[in-house]
Amino acid sequence: MKALLRKDIYVILTQFKLLFLVMIIFSVIPGGLFVPFTFIYSTMLSGVSIMSIDEQSKWDSLALMLPYSRGQLVTVKYIMGWLALAVALVLSAVCQCLWAALGSVPLPDGFAAQLCVFSALALAVQAVTLPVNFCFGIAKGRIATIVVVAFIGALVGATMGEGDGFYTLIKVTSSIPGPVYTVLAAALCAATIPISVAGFRRRAEK
C-alpha cells in the first residue's frame, strides 16, 4: 500500500499542481463561501484524476501483475481523496480563522460543524463517483461525475437563492452534531469500497 500511495502522491505532485493552486485560492477567499466547493473538488478530483492518468499509462495492467491486491489498488484512490480532503480542511480552517483573527471577516456561526458537514458532503460525492469510475471506466465515470457535481451545484444554488436558505439549511443540519455527518459519510464511503473492487475486477477481466 505504501508503494501505491507513494506512486499516487508523485503523480499528484507532478501532474496536478493546478489542483493545489485552486485548493489554496478557494481556501483563502474570506467568508468560507467556497469551502464546500474546495472540499468536493479536492476529494473527488484527487482520486479520479489519478485514475485517468493510470488509464492513459495502462498502469493497471502492470499493477495487476505486481504484488498488490485488487483491494489495495482500489483503496488507495479512496485514501488519496481523504488525504486531499484533510489538506483542504486544514487549509480552509486555518485561513478562515486567520481572517477572523485579523478582524476582516468573522467566522460564521457553527463554523466547525459546517466544516464537518461539508466534509461529509465531499465524502458522499466520493462514495458515488469512485464506484462509478471503477465500474464503468473514466470516460463514462466523468459524465457521472459532472452530473453529480451539477446536481449538487444546483441544490446549493437553489437553497442559496431562497433568502437565507443556505444558512437555514446549515442551521437545520447543525441540530445534529457535525461529526455525525462526517462519520456517516465516511462509513458510506468505506461501504462502497467492495463495490469499487468488484467493478475494478469486472473491468480488468474484459
Binding site: A3, I53, S57, K58, W59, L64, L66, P67, A204
Partner: protein
C-alpha cells in the same frame, strides 16, 4: 520445482478464445512464446500472472496456484516487463525506483542504480521524454532489481532497433546464468527467441499448437524441397506444413516418419511458419 505449470487453461472473450492450454516450464529454463497478433500470448501471460481469472483450468507459478491469496506474496519472486513501461509518464527513474522499493521486499537500490548506469538511463528525466528503447530498458531494470526467480516478458523487444534488442538479450542472458532463474518471454521476433530459449511454445488462434524443447524441435523436424511428384510420396503424417510454388513444394516434415527423404535443418522461423500454414490448411 517447476517455474510454471499450466493445465487446461481456457478463457473466453468476445471474439476470442484461449483453448485448453497446458505446458510445464521447468525451473531454470527459458521459454519463448510465439504467435501472431491476437493469438492469445498476452491473455496467457495475464492468466499466468493472475491478472485475469481462467474460465477453466489452473496455473501454478513457483509452486503457488495463481487463484490462491498467497499468490500476491509469491509475485515478490517474479519480475514483469510488458510491451510498454506502463508507468505514469510524468515520473522519472528515481521515483520509479522508490515506488518499486516499497513494492518488492528484496528490492536492491544499488543493483537498480547499477542497471540504470549500464543501460545509460538518466535518473531525473521524466519517462515522457524517453525513447521507446529507453522506456523498455527502464521496465527491464525494475524487473531485474529485486532478485526475481522468474521473469515474465510480454513483447519486450517489439519495435526496438537491433542494438537495443541485442542489449536487452544480453541482460536476459546474464539473468539466466543462475540456475534457479527462469524466463517466459513472448515475442514476434523468432530469431531473438532462437538465440535465447530452451523451450518454444507456439500459440495460434488461441490454441497451443506446439510446446517443445527448442533443440529437439530443430532436430526432429526438417525442411524438404521437392517436386510435386516426389512430395506425393512423402507420408502425409510426416508433413506439418507445406508451401507450393512454381518449382515444386517446400515443406516441414517430421523426420521420424518422413522415410528416406533428405531434409535440411530448419530455422525456428521455418518451424513456426510451417506449423501455422499446416494448421490453416
Amino acid at each position: 520445482m517447476n517455474a510454471i505449470e499450466a493445465r487446461g487453461l481456457s478463457k473466453k472473450y468476445s471474439g476470442f478464445q484461449l483453448r485448453d492450454v497446458s505446458f510445464t516450464l521447468p525451473e531454470g529454463s527459458i521459454m519463448g512464446l510465439v504467435g501472431e497478433n491476437g493469438a492469445g500470448k498476452s491473455t496467457l501471460i495475464r492468466l499466468i500472472m493472475g491478472a485475469a481469472a481462467a474460465d477453466s483450468g489452473q496455473v501454478t507459478v513457483l509452486g503457488t496456484q495463481t487463484v490462491s491469496p498467497k499468490f500476491i506474496k509469491a509475485k515478490d519472486d517474479i519480475g514483469v516487463v510488458l510491451d510498454e513501461a506502463h508507468f505514469p509518464v510524468s515520473l522519472n527513474a528515481a521515483q520509479i525506483g522508490r515506488i518499486m522499493g516499497d513494492t518488492y521486499s528484496r528490492w536492491d537500490q544499488g543493483e537498480y542504480a547499477r542497471l540504470l548506469q549500464r543501460l545509460d538511463l538518466p535518473e531525473k528525466k521524466t519517462i515522457k521524454n524517453f525513447s521507446r528503447g529507453m522506456t523498455m530498458k527502464l521496465a527491464l531494470a525494475t524487473a531485474l532489481s529485486h532478485d526475481a526467480r522468474l521473469l515474465v516478458l510480454d513483447e519486450p523487444t517489439g519495435g526496438l532497433d537491433p542494438m537495443v534488442r541485442d542489449e536487452i538479450l544480453d541482460i536476459l542472458e546474464d539473468f539466466t546464468r543462475r540456475e534457479d532463474r527462469s524466463v517466459l518471454i513472448s515475442s514476434h521476433i523468432v530469431s531473438d527467441l532462437e538465440k535465447l530459449c530452451d523451450y518454444i511454445a507456439f500459440l495460434h488462434k488461441g490454441e497451443l499448437l506446439l510446446f517443445e524443447e527448442k533443440d529437439r524441435l530443430l532436430e526432429e523436424y526438417g525442411v524438404v524441397k521437392l517436386s510435386e511428384a516426389d512430395f506425393e510420396a512423402v507420408p502425409k503424417a510426416a508433413v506439418k506444413g507445406a508451401r507450393r510454388g512454381k518449382y515444386g513444394v517446400e515443406a516441414l516434415v517430421d523426420k521420424s516418419v518422413a522415410g528416406s527423404v533428405r531434409a535440411e535443418k530448419p530455422t525456428l522461423e521455418d518451424v513456426i511458419i510451417f506449423f501455422a500454414r499446416g494448421n490453416r490448411e
